[in-house]
Symmetry: C2
Subunit: 572 residues, 2 copies
């Protein structure tokens, strides 16, 4: 009873003080690279930043996509006022369709980012009912006590923003993804003056991305790629294929420039390349000379030295254009001996094997392959700031408190060290997990509580209907297959009516394992007989357990494998 009343008092107190607490947390993006989602709470308002997805690793069998678990936001539905999106990369927008199906709130993003979001919403058939609001670096928004403004940052996609939240407790800055490229392509400058001004006015808390916190030095400029691209195009005496991320419009622009200088037509291969370049052209983010673009069916109408091809698949994705080209499975386009193939993107960790498989196939076709692994080719620079870039951001903002975001643990820890090196006080940096809340009151920040956060798995059309039990079963099935045992038992006499049926899949070759399966048959009959002898056949649940155990142990001893064993009893 006493405990109960204390808990009620606690609740009342919390409600009383809610108005004056500023809270910050991540629902995705910490201890991982992907599915970014952060939120700012003040009083009755919650503003959400980004809603990305993440691709599963090989332990998540059959899962297509991972998105943030937004249970907490659903429980506080009426308080969630806005989703503000920093830029159009998958790890920042890929979860939006799923999010909007649960919480239909306004989405704020820049012109180019909105174009990419619209493509997604169209695919999910929810574009019409969604409320999309275009913003730019000059926009001011207000959600009661939370005032929001923006600043331009440079990254590997156009139209990126950092966000400033002015609250009664002080100013919070979220950097988005950024690097400081002082000679960017397409005029995508970082607004360093505005950043300096924000810092001068005082920043209570900075959230800054940590992707490259492990890499010393400064990120090279995107212009470096243009120079190498030009050289490769000039050296090439047959077709040139370039594979990169469709969303890296600056790099696409550089390929256009190289094609122009060498009088080549340009074909676009791969659905996302075609879609994204279309969005970029419509909205004025890329400049393609009239008559340069040709369709994939026209490639063979031109001499090989007059054609360039821009395609998806730089990560070795088995169904994307480059992988299909590498195995001769792309209709209308073919890589022939002496053609040049440029991989103008680094492999994201985990994709190395797929990428090198594609490279191997391209070599087999006789192509001249320009790729990055092991040999530095100058065909790719990172869109994320290295240590010096991160230190510059910290220096400009000079925050009192710091939360490194957007990265695995080791990156967050390295970023903390950088913050301390440029003057953030020790213990004023919070290395958090998703769901950890930093509460700020009277300009004092503390990490004391936790809200629910996690992964939601998307498998086919199912969102969240696959969880740990299903995955554990898939894992067992994937490693050692299964054995179904069907027993037909007489209801009245409680005995076996026929020989047990066993069916195995993914376990052993049946034709090579007749003896083994015969032994299993014998073992099953013996187990059932023991039950009959002890007159326990009413306990069929227990008998199933015993069958599973006896057969499982026998098979492990004989094969060192642990197939899933499924006894099924049919009563007749």
């Amino acid at each position: 009873m006493i405990l109960l009343s204390l808990s009620i008092i606690g609740e009342v107190r919390f409600l009383e003080t809610r108005e004056s607490v500023l809270s910050v947390y991540a629902l995705g993006g910490l201890h991982e690279v992907g599915k970014n989602m952060y939120a700012i709470e003040y009083g009755n308002d919650i503003v959400v930043i980004d809603c990305g997805n993440k691709f599963p690793d090989e332990t998540l069998l059959g899962i297509d996509l991972i998105i943030p678990d937004i249970t907490y936001l659903e429980e506080n539905k009426e308080r969630v006022k806005a989703l503000i999106v920093t830029h159009g990369h998958e790890d920042h927008i890929g979860g939006i369709p799923f999010f909007l199906k649960k919480l239909n709130i306004p989405v704020y993003a820049t012109r180019f980012t909105l174009g990419l979001i619209e493509l997604k919403l169209k695919e999910h058939k929810i574009l019409r009912e969604s409320e999309l609001v275009e913003i730019n670096a000059e926009t001011n928004l207000s959600f009661n006590a939370i005032n929001v403004s923006f600043f331009k940052v440079n990254h590997s996609i156009p139209d990126c923003l950092g966000i400033v939240f002015d609250t009664p407790e002080g100013t919070i800055v979220h950097t988005g993804d950024f690097k400081f490229d002082l000679t960017p392509v397409n005029g995508q400058h970082s607004d360093i003056h505005r950043m300096a001004e924000i810092g001068r006015k005082g920043v209570l808390l900075l959230l800054s991305e940590s992707t490259n916190a492990e890499r010393p030095g400064s990120t090279p400029s995107e212009q470096m790629v243009g120079k190498h691209m030009d050289e490769a195009f000039m050296r090439a005496n047959r077709k040139v294929f370039v594979s990169t991320f469709a969303s890296n419009i600056s790099r696409v622009q550089q390929v256009v420039e190289s094609a122009k200088k060498t009088n080549r037509k340009l074909a676009l291969l791969g659905r996302s390349m075609v879609n994204v370049v279309e969005v970029a052209m419509e909205r004025g983010y890329i400049d393609v000379p009239d008559g340069m673009l040709i369709s994939q069916n026209e490639i063979n109408d031109y001499a090989p030295e007059k054609v360039a091809v821009l395609c998806t698949g730089s990560q070795g994705e088995p169904m994307a254009a480059l992988a299909r080209l590498s195995t001769g499975n792309f209709r209308g386009a073919e890589v022939l001996p002496e053609d040049t193939v440029i991989l103008a993107a680094g492999p994201i960790p985990g994709n190395e094997k797929n990428v090198t498989r594609v490279i191997d196939h391209l070599f087999q076709l006789g192509a001249k392959v320009i790729y990055g692994s092991g040999v530095s080719t100058g065909m790719h620079v990172s869109g994320h700031g290295y240590q010096e870039d991160l230190k510059l951001m910290l220096t400009l903002m000079k925050p009192k408190y710091f939360i490194p975001i957007h990265g695995e643990y080791r990156m967050l820890f390295q970023h903390r060290a950088l913050a301390e090196a440029v003057g953030v006080e020790k213990d004023y940096t919070f290395v958090l997990n998703n769901g950890d809340v930093v509460d700020i009151q009277n300009q004092e920040a503390r990490h004391t509580r936790k809200i629910h956060a996690g992964n939601t798995y998307v498998d086919g059309v199912g969102v969240g209907d696959v969880g740990d039990v299903v995955l554990r079963d898939r894992k067992q099935l994937s490693e050692d297959g299964m054995l179904v045992i069907v027993l037909t038992m007489s209801k009245s006499e409680r005995k076996l009516l026929s020989n047990p049926d066993t069916i195995s899949r993914g376990f052993v070759y049946v034709r090579d394992s007749e003896e083994l399966l015969r032994d299993v048959d014998g073992l099953i009959k013996k187990t059932v007989k023991d039950y009959q002898a002890q007159n326990k056949t009413q306990h069929w649940g227990a008998m199933k357990q015993d069958l599973r155990k006896a057969v499982g142990e026998f098979l492990f001893q004989k094969t060192r494998r642990k197939p899933m064993i499924l006894p099924i009893i049919i009563e007749v």
Copy 2:
């Protein structure tokens, strides 16, 4: 009839000329890094070089190990005279126990390599019946017309050899794995003078390893690691953990030296670390001061600044010492805040994720982690020669013909370019697949024919009993699980005796999918009823097919998943 006689003539001709043909091929090691196995044939003699294993990638569900398919050697059993082993790494010796169980022939290897092979044979309980012959760089062997001699090479394990085969057709050289470290640790020098002599006498064909053919420059010396190791030990004011490959005895020696300089005791963690260091100490390949080694139970008996720990798990293997230390699951040893942990090995491609997971956990424990990804720490150098090393080998041997071995396609192609750069004639390099045979007659080499080569999968105690069908089933099970449908049918009346039973695993959460499974039930009954209506229930095979199709299509439409569907009909 005419075709038949031609084929007989061909066969006779082949038998007549067999004596004077020299043949070279790989049974493993081409288009892959791993499971190295090469062979030289002359007349009635086959000499095999190395017998390695390879670890499966994530597509080979449940497979423990891959070894070369040796069907061809089994078919030519009486001609196989010897297995010569260049050095003791897993990708060169890991298949030996499986090989010897099929073909019990003499194994020739150096003292240290034999020590590692013996460990394996002991585990497989076949040490006693195996014939192991110790050789060194001065040994000469003779198998009828094939005369074999050796030369010392430097690599990341002691006691490595290159092999020279003198045959009536000319000299073939196999380099083994190598780099040119001119200041090696433990006196493991390359015998450049002997190599020069071999080259001066004339080499018909060189087989040289290609692992680092993509990397420009020369491999740094192992001594570089010692310097950085010393510095890290001196800076450390608590325990130091170092993780590396047990077989890299030179690096183990450097850890011993750093421990000696800082007055630390040294504990060895992990079975292979204990075993391999024991072999190295017994056979004189490492020098450990008396009293330095302590057991894992004694670690806490000393002040933290007086202890160093050498452990396995540098590749992030989940069951190895470092991964268990990183999650606090190693009995007797613990990583505490401010301890130093050094990863003194680069991640092998494909292991990056496991390695970074371990690093993240170590950061969470508060350790100072020194690791290589992204930041160059000087704690690891490759054991394989870079481009300049490979060119030096080609220059020393100046072969007429060249076969790049030991690498993926792109490495083999890059190595061919290096060979041409130092003077091997165009078209005199053979980029081959496993099983491709180069026949040499009258000093002319041609690649014309192919023998059987492939992968043998080891799963538990089964060798070769898991193949494509089993793996395909495992893949389907792993992605979408399965659904078993049990129909109890009356034999006489040919109709359903009860409701169908459906059991699913790894597909959906049953409690969330009641409606779906109810619909499946209805669909099954309808399908059966249709068969009855058409009086076709004698065709139960066809009915199963139809059930599989109908239920499969329905589930795909509803869930976008394709579980394995197993209809089972019980006749009563």
